[in-house]
């Protein structure tokens, strides 16, 4: 049988099923589904809408930051400053609003502060060639300190004129939006009844909706844009990327800015949800986020990772934490479970690599 040029061009190494089976993300996804099914049967409290609502909201913060972290990790870097940047962005937004600035001024300023942190990280890493670990470790200390100075280490819980809007953004859900729509479509109208019904049946926290939207955007960008292609190239072989004319330094700055931006967005949402800000907000967040991203299949050595993986990792970690509480296990054991999952997920990856020594 003749093999035509077109056959060669179209030839895939593995079929779709083979690639699926070989992907860590797929197995972690499966684990999450099994855990979900088990918890629904084993406990009476897991699959209540309020509990699922909480799990969805909590994993949304980790997932949103995880998407930015995935981009950083794909380039072979790491960003330890996300927890502190989250706190700083939340603090800038909260302080400005407590000084009676409107929300549409406060939020851009908060995101600007986050982007500035990311720019400093990226600049020092890409242009001064400092190791990402060290630079972002320094930023972790720096950003939280600035947040403390800004607030005088006070708790902020009054967000001025736009207090209600802030709380609605971070703490709200689809139920709130549908109820607002029902109210505005006039009393006793059919439309109003439909919206009220939708509000009762669909109950998703705002941060989770944003996570899904961001995940779709990131997934698209990673696969379909030059920028996406280039971050994978940098993580695979930075020297090769430089030699072939990829703007390596500019792209590196952009990934750290993106990571900081996502942390800033999560910070604003978290402030809205909690209704208060303390300078301890987001402490240790970087490690949870990195754990989620690694469990989801990103390669800390660079060159591999997916948006879907970041989301799945975040969901799994949050489910573990939630279920331990529900199953009545001492919460001090959470770290052991999360740690075991990190090792198991990476072990899967190693086993696969040892079967195929070339990879």
């Amino acid at each position: 049988m003749d093999i035509t040029l077109q056959d060669t061009i179209d030839r895939q190494q593995h079929g779709a099923a083979g690639r699926l089976m070989a992907s860590q993300t797929f197995w972690v996804f499966l684990a999450a589904i099994i855990a979900f099914a088990y918890l629904s049967v084993a406990t009476s409290s897991f699959d209540t809408s309020q509990n699922l609502f909480n799990v969805a909201r909590n994993c949304a913060f980790v997932g949103i930051i995880g998407l930015g972290m995935t981009a950083v990790i794909i380039t072979g870097g790491i960003d330890l400053s996300v927890g502190s940047v989250l706190c700083l962005a939340g603090m800038v937004a909260g302080m400005m609003m407590s000084w009676d600035y409107p929300i549409w001024v406060a939020i851009p300023c908060a995101l600007g502060a986050a982007l500035a942190c990311g720019f400093i990280n990226g600049f020092l890493i890409a242009y001064v060639h400092m190791p990402p670990f060290v630079v972002t470790l320094a930023m972790m200390s720096f950003a939280r300190s600035v947040a403390m100075v800004l607030s005088g280490n006070q708790m902020v819980y009054q967000f001025g004129v736009d207090h209600a809007k802030m709380v609605a953004i971070g703490g709200g859900s689809t139920r709130g939006w549908f109820n607002a729509l029902a109210a505005s479509s006039g009393p006793d109208s059919t439309l109003s009844a439909v919206f009220t019904w939708l509000g009762q049946s669909i109950f998703i926290p705002n941060p989770a909706i944003l996570l899904v939207l961001f995940a779709l955007v990131f997934g698209f960008v990673f696969r379909w844009t030059r920028w996406g292609r280039h971050i994978f190239a940098i993580g695979g072989n930075e020297h090769a990327a430089t030699l072939t004319g990829v703007p390596v330094r500019r792209i590196k700055v952009s990934v750290y800015m993106l990571s900081a931006l996502m942390a800033g967005i999560a910070g604003i949402l978290q402030v809205g949800w909690l209704g208060t800000i303390t300078t301890g907000m987001g402490t240790g967040m970087e490690l949870v986020v990195i754990a989620a991203v690694v469990i989801g299949g990103a390669n800390l050595a660079g060159g591999g990772g997916t948006a879907f993986g970041a989301v799945v990792g975040a969901v799994l970690i949050e489910m573990i934490r939630n279920s331990l509480t529900l199953l009545g296990i001492n919460p001090f054991w959470q770290g052991v479970f999360v740690g075991s999952f990190i090792i198991t997920a990476v072990a899967f990856d190693r086993i696969r690599a040892s079967r195929n020594p070339e990879s």
Binding site: Q6, T8, R223, F232, G235, G236, L243, T244, S359
Partner: protein
Amino acid sequence: MTALKLTNISKHFGAIHALSGVSLSLEPAQVLGLMGDNGAGKSTLVKIIAGNFPPTGGAIQIDDREVHFAQPIDARRNGVEIVYQDLALCNNLTAGANVFLGRELQKGWGPFRILDYKKMYQRAGELFAELKSETRPRDLVRQMSGGQRQAVAIARTRLSEPRIVLMDEPTAAISVRQVAEVLNLIRRLRDHGIAVILISHRMPDVFAVADRVAVLRRGRKVADKLISTTSPEEVTGLITGAIENA
């Protein structure tokens, strides 16, 4: 017409004279073996042609036009492509992605542009076919043999219509069978009218594929002969200094 003409190229790093007064010319569809011991100035000369740094003195002409390169991208724009010794491939990407690295094809409107996978894989497949390599565009480079990896790196040079391809030790770290494959790839480039400079330590490879051989010693060109008028013994003598000049 000469594809490449170097006149009196010299390069000084402080007090060190890495190259002094090297002149060289190359016709289209000609393969030049560039030989010399470690530190003879081969890499320096290649880096000057590739635009990594400018020469201290002398002139470079491509297609009888004088050119000045401030950075590698300038050299590329003037039809100089380089196959680096380490090949500059990303293992985590497919062969097709590596061929188009830094020069990805896109489709779309205005700022909304996405990668044109179909066209890139199509073109990469055609390039591999031209090179008579069995490399498949959608395969990951990670799983490829040394010869296939060379094919990817060489296919990359064919994306533009280059005048000159520089190859730095392409046969240094691969098996005997793969060497034959790479030498064939070099002949294919030549058949397309491309001038090739092959930097190599391996005498048999140079004598198998090159039309001419130039020898550098201590930053000077000590010989520039047609392969048919010299022998491996003579070239060895020229490299080591046992023969002063030829």
